[in-house]
Assembly symmetry: C2
Homo-oligomer: 145 residues x 2
């Protein structure tokens, strides 16, 4: 868990209520897990981790929940690697993502301002996604040792 942006269950529960979604135990667990990780997890990572706490949690429920939360705009789907969707908490200031080629973790990054300025006229843009790839600080320092 990352303390700097920790969102407690009450707050997440409220967010769900406001979107007309029942904050069931499973849903709360999924949303909380995504909200409080820095490196945006995939469905499989969510399932594997949460099954420690909720052994009866099924893969179907994780997928159902992710769809429900994404449809309600509480989560954002990141299309980073083909065949492996990752999830990010949605109601946040816009930011970009950095994918480490070595450890595959995904980090948040600030987004340069004025991104959609220089684009082709005639296209109606409603969202922007920016991905950086490279080596994260942890992997750089491991390499040096």
């Amino acid at each position: 868990m990352d303390d700097d942006r920790f969102l407690d269950d009450n707050r997440l529960s409220d967010m769900m209520h406001r979107c007309g979604i029942r904050p069931s135990v499973n849903r709360l667990a999924v949303l909380s897990f995504v909200a409080n990780r820095r490196t945006h997890p995939s469905a499989d990572e969510i399932l594997t981790e949460l099954q420690n706490k909720f052994p009866s949690l099924s893969r179907t429920t994780v997928y159902n929940t992710l769809h429900t939360l994404a449809a309600a705009k509480l989560l954002r789907e990141l299309e980073i690697e083909s065949g492996n969707r990752h999830y990010d908490l949605a109601p946040q200031p816009q930011h970009s993502h950095f994918i480490c080629r070595r450890c595959s973790r995904i980090f948040d990054m600030p987004i340069p301002e004025n991104l959609s300025g220089n684009t082709t006229p005639g296209f109606m843009i409603d969202s922007v996604e920016l991905y950086f790839k490279g080596i994260c600080p942890d992997c750089i320092s491991i390499k040096k040792q």
Copy 2:
């Protein structure tokens, strides 16, 4: 085919030679197909289209070829939709992509300058991918009618 950026087989063949790849008929067909489409195709689209011309072309060969060309940096893999990789000709000036939510086609866009300026220190960035989503001009005008 888009005439404005048409690359003929001789030129593509040269590019392959320079990368140490034998320009077989199948490989040339795949590379040419990707190079001369504006809306970056997926493996399945490539296979379906090319089978009209080369009925014996197999799915495996398309995947093999795409891997070979991507490893040689002649093609770039676009992670746009989960579970469906798209391909773009690589040795081109950097540009971004626009994905139409209605027709799913992918268009090139200019890229704003100085993109990697405002990023977190400590990360070693080696590539940048920028995706816009929205409605393309064609779909906008269809909607108006």
